[in-house]
Subunit: 389 residues, 2 copies
């Protein structure tokens, strides 16, 4: 940093943007604290004056974003300060997921608590996209009612496919979808703004917030297989947001045909349907130690594809999520054997292979969290009324 | 940017670091200009005062980094200003490459001109690492002499392997090297600081500087195959600098054994030796249109591996470099067919497949450029004498 750079940053800053920044700063200071905070603690943590903090906190309380908890009993001299916490009855996030064999919706409050979740198992390939999204909207409205009709700051949808920034699902091979404007269809039915993202990306963001990262590849095992690539604490989305399509890495170039049109894709060996078929069961929960040998081909195929990921990206942690998470004990050895065989640096540095911290809800939680984070990062917009529904 | 952030950046700045910053700013302003610049132009471009610029320029001329060119003939009123340019007799960079079948060295001056280059073809697998590096050091000294004994700011080496930050080659499978302290061995023989980097990374950086990027994967075809991943104008090195090991992506899991110990790696199908064998020739320059059909298997294997790269990383440009560059006309159709078949987004967005802008010298040029850039980015260290040899 030099005198010149200081000079150029010293351009006038508008008062409204200073207030917006400071509102976010105060709110996030409370959000990042394990305990309720006093106004004085916020002042100390942020460097803002007591008077400024008080004015900001008053606005955040009036807008329903912060709540004042009863002061703890007196333990020493002086008046105990009231503690500030995120308002559990403040704006909430609606998270939704559509996958090949289920629909899911949850309501998460500002503090990150899941207030209600609903999952409905049904093969979505049997419905056209508007019908499937109509079912999902009904499920979401029910979850909202059961969560106590919190005000929604917005909604987000996780899909197993490639999404454009405006919320159009360009292609979701396992759903058979092409160019479905999921954001518009859901917005119409829910009456709140809706964003759409790839399910593996959202699940990887959940994992990142839960475990802290910093660099890993999250593999989301469902009917299809996706990956979320986290490098140095940041989700790598690719040039158009279409990164991580690990399910269509070629395992055997002359293998069986895949729904995508190619042959021998990873999904044909290690997708949920292939795993159930190999194990001779109809539910993943039926898989136990006796079925482990039957999962050998799936584990090898996964290991081979993941070895390619490590050779290309030089990450040291692989996180198995979605339906893979409970299967890690039966998949681990087969995957590790291929990593040892194919990763050029296998002998130089260990690779951590572990189950995801969150279970099957990771993508839906990631969707709800995305809404919550948008409020925490820009409370001024919410307070101005633009974000209220 | 807010008042708070401004306040915290307003910490005292030491005068010496301001001078170091401004020296770099003035030098880079000249380096980035297509034409010689006057002091007045540097002042206008940087916002530094005329007096400051004059003092900085005097230091840069005295230190041999800038040179004053004769003023152009008068064309109008006033005295024409002398033009400043990077000193062609200033500090130079020594770039070196060791690969399986050749050694190479070049001297590049501050302005980026290659002053001399030497390439020596010989199978390096027949020598132990100190002997091979001894040969390379002799070649480098000869190149330096033939370049007119420019002062060297340093040297850099490109290797086909995985390198640690301190310049130790951890593993180079095709050379048969393991834990070779190439930086120390060369520094001893050359008497200048030496850095070591992966050849595909250095070649990708050359390509980035030549074409501007911003996002592409550079595939370096030699006896081995490496990749340099450039995302948004930045080389992605991976967690330990070991990214891009595309040569060991599995093409056929039960294919022929590779030097790395695994089976069916890309190198076995599309490495230089496989290509020469398929084409029935001993030199790449013997390959022409009549040999194209024989390259079908190599092209398919490359296409399959590159489809995986695109599915994972969502990049839209693939650059074929090294020995692949002249073969692009014969490889293109076979690669493109596999991309169409295996890239999930092939129908949504086109993929550009092109030959590298620089030829076989890309990695060695990248090495020399790395030295030059270190001077341009920190001229103060050079001027203080610490960088001189």
């Amino acid at each position: 940093m030099t005198a010149r750079i200081l000079a150029s940053s010293a351009a006038p800053v508008r008062q409204s943007s200073v207030r917006a920044h400071n509102l976010a700063l105060a709110l996030q200071t409370v959000a990042n604290s394990a305990n309720p905070l006093s106004r004085a603690s916020i002042s100390a943590a942020t460097g803002l004056t007591r008077a400024t903090v008080s004015a900001l906190v008053d606005d955040l309380i009036a807008g329903g974003l912060l709540t004042e908890l009863d002061p703890p009993p007196r333990t020493g001299a002086g008046r105990p300060a009231a503690g500030l916490a995120l308002a559990s009855e403040g704006p909430a996030g609606l998270g939704m997921e559509i996958n090949v064999d289920y629909l899911a919706a949850c309501v998460v409050d500002l503090g990150g608590t899941v207030r209600h979740r609903l999952v409905e198992h049904a093969d979505q390939r049997l419905s056209d996209p508007p019908t499937a999204l109509g079912h999902l909207a009904r499920l979401a409205r029910r979850a909202r009612t059961l969560a106590g009709d919190l005000r929604l700051a917005g909604a987000a949808l996780a899909v197993p496919g490639l999404v454009s920034p405006d919320g159009v699902v360009r292609v979701a091979p396992n759903l058979g979808w092409q160019d479905v404007d999921a954001a518009a269809l859901l917005r119409e039915q829910l009456g709140v703004p809706v964003t759409v993202d790839n399910e593996a990306n959202l699940a990887a963001l959940s994992e990142l917030r839960t475990t802290g990262g910093p660099s890993f590849v999250y593999i989301s095992g469902e009917i299809g297989i996706g990956a979320g690539i986290v490098l140095d604490g940041v989700l790598y989305r690719g040039m158009r947001g279409w990164s991580g399509e690990i399910g269509h890495l070629s395992v055997h170039p002359d293998g069986p045909e895949c729904r995508c049109g190619a042959r021998g894709c990873l999904e044909r060996y290690a997708g949920q349907e292939a795993i159930l078929r190999a194990a001779g069961v109809t539910e993943l929960t039926d898989i136990d130690a006796t079925a482990a040998p039957a999962l050998g081909e799936a584990a090898s195929a996964l290991g081979l594809a993941l070895a390619g990921v490590v050779n290309l990206l030089d990450v040291d942690t692989l996180v198995l999520g979605g339906s893979y998470a409970p299967l890690v004990p039966w998949l681990r050895d087969g995957i590790a054997a291929e990593l040892r065989r194919h990763v050029l640096t296998a002998e130089l540095a260990p690779i951590t292979l572990r189950a995801a911290a969150l279970g099957a809800d990771a993508a839906m939680r990631g969707a709800a969290d995305a809404v919550i984070r948008s409020v925490l990062e820009d409370p001024a917009t919410w307070l101005s009324g633009a974000g209220r529904t």
